[in-house]
């Protein structure tokens, strides 16, 4: 938290200092009515918004999984894409999401979180189709596999 608090009149006389403080993390300004305002880099705002959104999702999902029955799509809301998963997968998702959130918070970077969400969303999409699901989660049966050769031009 910055120690310097700017005033509205400083926006004219100390404009560069104000912008430097904002660029370096945050610039605080006390408005005439006492309201405290903060300017910060947009990337940091996005980081905080993303972390808040996913911590909230994590808590919500955690409460759903305390119940015996799995959450319905309508309960999951934005997370309805998780409906493809069984309980053990959802618990694994929760564990990985928690680790990714902790890493993203510590790193102040959402790369690990983005990778985690992306991989789970892709997996959910692959499981939507019953045939793909049966092969992906089923056992390996050697007789089910045939030789594949390199793609050719069809002409």
């Amino acid at each position: 938290m910055s120690d310097v608090i700017f005033l509205p009149t400083d926006l004219a006389s100390k404009r560069l200092e104000f912008l430097d403080a904002a660029r370096n993390g945050q610039a605080r300004l006390r408005d005439k009515d006492g309201t405290s305002l903060v300017m910060l880099p947009e990337s940091r705002l996005r980081l905080l918004e993303t972390l808040a959104k996913w911590w909230q999702a994590y808590m919500r999902l955690e409460s759903f999984l305390r119940r015996t029955e799995l959450p319905r799509a309508s309960e999951l809301g934005e997370l309805a894409w998780l409906r493809s998963f069984e309980r053990d997968d959802l618990e694994e998702f929760m564990s990985e999401l928690h680790d990714a959130l902790v890493a993203a918070t510590a790193d102040e970077d959402t790369v690990a979180l983005d990778d985690c969400i992306r991989a789970w969303r892709i997996t959910a999409r692959q499981l939507e189709d019953p045939l793909r699901r049966s092969v992906l989660v089923g056992p390996h049966v050697p007789e089910d596999y045939v030789e594949a050769s390199e793609p050719h031009d069809s002409e």
């Binding site: 998963f85 789970w120 997996t123 007789e143 596999y145 594949a148 069809s154």
Partner: protein, 144 residues
């Protein structure tokens, strides 16, 4: 049209796998006549997705289809320098058995994705020679 997948029927099937078309000692040829490296990995495809595999070049273009082939037949365990890959998660991503990799999801194009696992020393029966294999599990042509 030249088929992209072939069933080898010139040798008797493995005694462990009656009527199987899979033969562990015959490498897939590199069709097209290009004098490139021989495949290090045999490439297999799940028979339920054979039809989809046969459509790959028509769906994504020959260049991208061959890029996928080059990747899985040479170096399936490392990230492709061009295409996006990731491990599937949960049960879908777990190895099919000892020696199998996790499931790798390979984006051939924006509308073609392939899931595969690889095994560096696969055997079809206890006394057979171990050989590297890639097993294409699923192919998905729907766009995200």
């Amino acid at each position: 049209m030249v088929p992209m997948c072939q069933r080898i029927t010139s040798k008797p099937a493995s005694p462990m796998i009656p009527n199987s078309s899979y033969e562990p000692h015959v490498r897939a040829r590199r069709p097209g006549g290009r004098p490139d490296e021989k495949p290090k990995y045999r490439v297999l495809v799940h028979r339920r997705f054979l039809m989809y595999y046969n459509e790959l070049a028509d769906r994504v273009g020959l260049k991208q289809a061959q890029q996928f082939w080059d990747h899985v037949s040479q170096d399936p365990g490392n990230p492709d320098p061009i295409a996006s890959t990731c491990f599937l998660r949960g049960r879908s991503g777990r190895p099919k058995g000892p020696g199998w990799s996790r499931t790798i999801h390979y984006e051939v194009s924006s509308s073609a994705r392939i899931d595969y696992q690889y095994h560096d020393a696969y055997t079809t029966e206890p006394d057979s020679d171990p050989h590297p294999v890639v097993a294409i599990l699923t192919i998905n042509y729907s766009s995200h």
